[in-house]
Amino acid sequence: MRHSWPVIGLLSLLMNACSSEPAELGIYVQGQHLAVVDMHLHPGEWSQIPPDTQAFLASRFPFPLNLIPEIAASVTLSGEGILGEMDKAGIHAGVLFAVYAPQTVGIASNELVGEQVAVDPERLYGLASLRVDRWNTDADLELQRLEEAITTYGMIGVKLAHAHMHFRMDDARYFGIYELAGRLGAPVYLHTGTSPFPGTSREPPYTDPAYLEDAIAQYPETVFILGHLGYDFENHALGTLEHCLRLARDYPNVYLEPSALGSVGSDPESVNLPKVMKAIRDAGLVDRTLYGSDGPQSPGFVNTYLQRTVTAMTASGYTVNEVRAVLADNFTRIFHLPAIQP
């Protein structure tokens, strides 16, 4: 890297210089103090991201951080950086995702996630992942590594993204992942909907959770968390939201997570996230919904997304108890973790 550590230090200072004093954790809704868990956060290493995706990510950084994205990323994508963003947002706990999508969004290994979780294991958790691009030869080895990550290294779940990893949701060759996750009691988080990243699969078998139905039905002990609710990130449209809601209604092992779809970039007019949160409540699925942001993305994103989500919930008539459930209680219940006191 051409830039030196003093530059990184200066950048860290600048990125935190204008922040308010460390915020009290939790948020207030209608006068009640609520705990918050962000179950969708990405640590990473810039060098493990393909060039096209680096350019895509850099283009979303504010100027002038987009000129030095590798330095900005080294600050924001570290465990310390993510904790800083969580502090600014008042978030008690966060879940860091491992990613193995070398052709699209890159690699954040289980080992890397484990290292970042170790920065503050009281507040950070990890979801493990695995490679599927050499599945015909390496399936057993990859499943073994995944099991080790969960049983030995304390990961609490599994992260998959069919569109990023280029395997179909209905391909039964991969159902062993769900079987293993169910056996270990590790919920599976799945990216659903199209992806804004270059090189991802956009066809329905990779993006529409209706193609997951066979796996959902076949493994009732496995928790399936449908990330992004089938959102169409290309066209900023609701995509296959209705399929997600139907699956959650029909199968008790299906959960919902509305991250990223309500960001300024993906929902510029702030209309889709309120629609999604209202549809969840109207469908009686509040107790199946977990909060996540898909941060840190850029400085301030984690906080902004939390505010937008809470605003969308209150505008949709959520009670305080319903907000509490979405922001923390559903997460701790599903992942068998102690309840978080605000």
């Binding site: 200066l10 204008c18 850099a58 504010p62 002038p64 987009n66 000129l67």
Partner: protein, 222 residues
């Protein structure tokens, strides 16, 4: 009060305290010809030259100018954001308002923007800038400058096929704007020091962070 604002005020107060003994020595200098006035108000008197350097986050810049007759001043400048986005330019300034304590100048710049790194691009640019500065007493000079820059980004696409490589060039416009407000202090009859805050708008809709810089101005007659 916001923490940044508080820090800025503390810095300015500190700067004024530090400069106080020095600026006394500058009393008696001709305000209309001071290099800080020429740099921030724009333009130089015929036969005078002025230069400036600034360093900060994210911009660094150097600027040199020489005054001609009838209010015209040619100049060269190179600015850089974090040494990644570099913009060498030549320009011409015309003093619109030229009074002893107030100056307003219009400038036109022609240059080339070269950005390296992940979002590398380059292309010719043209910018228009308005500067204004006024003396407050004999030591302090608030100033402002507003720039609109239009760059033609050129992309070269090489398509490798079985029959050979086809290369094509495409171009697209990009608009950047920059507002600067600051205050300059007299260090000596020929040297000034300034602190400025920048409010950029880059790459059309890209969210931008404000910048800050310290600068030095100097000049004289050959």
């Amino acid at each position: 009060m916001h923490r940044c604002t508080g820090r800025l005020l503390v810095f300015l107060a500190g700067a004024g305290f530090v400069l106080h003994p020095t600026v006394r020595a500058a009393e008696g200098a001709s305000l209309p010809e001071h290099p800080a006035f020429d740099m921030h108000g724009g333009g130089s008197k015929p036969g005078s030259w002025a230069g400036g350097m600034q360093a900060g986050f994210p911009w660094q810049a150097v600027h040199l100018q020489y005054g001609l007759e009838d209010g015209w001043t040619p100049f060269v400048e190179v600015s850089s954001a974090l040494l990644q986005r570099n913009e060498p330019s030549i320009g011409l300034a015309l003093r619109w308002v030229d009074r002893p304590r107030v100056r307003v100048t219009g400038e036109v710049l022609l240059g080339w923007q070269v950005q390296t790194g992940v979002l590398a691009h380059s292309g010719p640019s043209m910018a228009l800038r308005v500067r204004a500065a006024a003396w407050v007493g004999r030591r302090i000079m608030p100033y402002t400058a507003w720039t609109t820059r239009h760059t033609l980004l050129i992309d070269r696409t090489a398509l490798e096929t079985a029959s050979g490589t086809e290369t094509s060039l495409t171009a697209g416009p990009r608009w950047d704007a920059l507002g600067v407000v600051g205050v300059a202090f007299v260090l000596s009859p020929r040297v000034g020091l300034e602190l400025g805050v920048e409010y950029p708008r880059t790459d059309g809709s890209t969210v931008t962070l404000p910048g800050v810089h310290l600068g030095l101005q100097f000049g004289g007659r050959p």
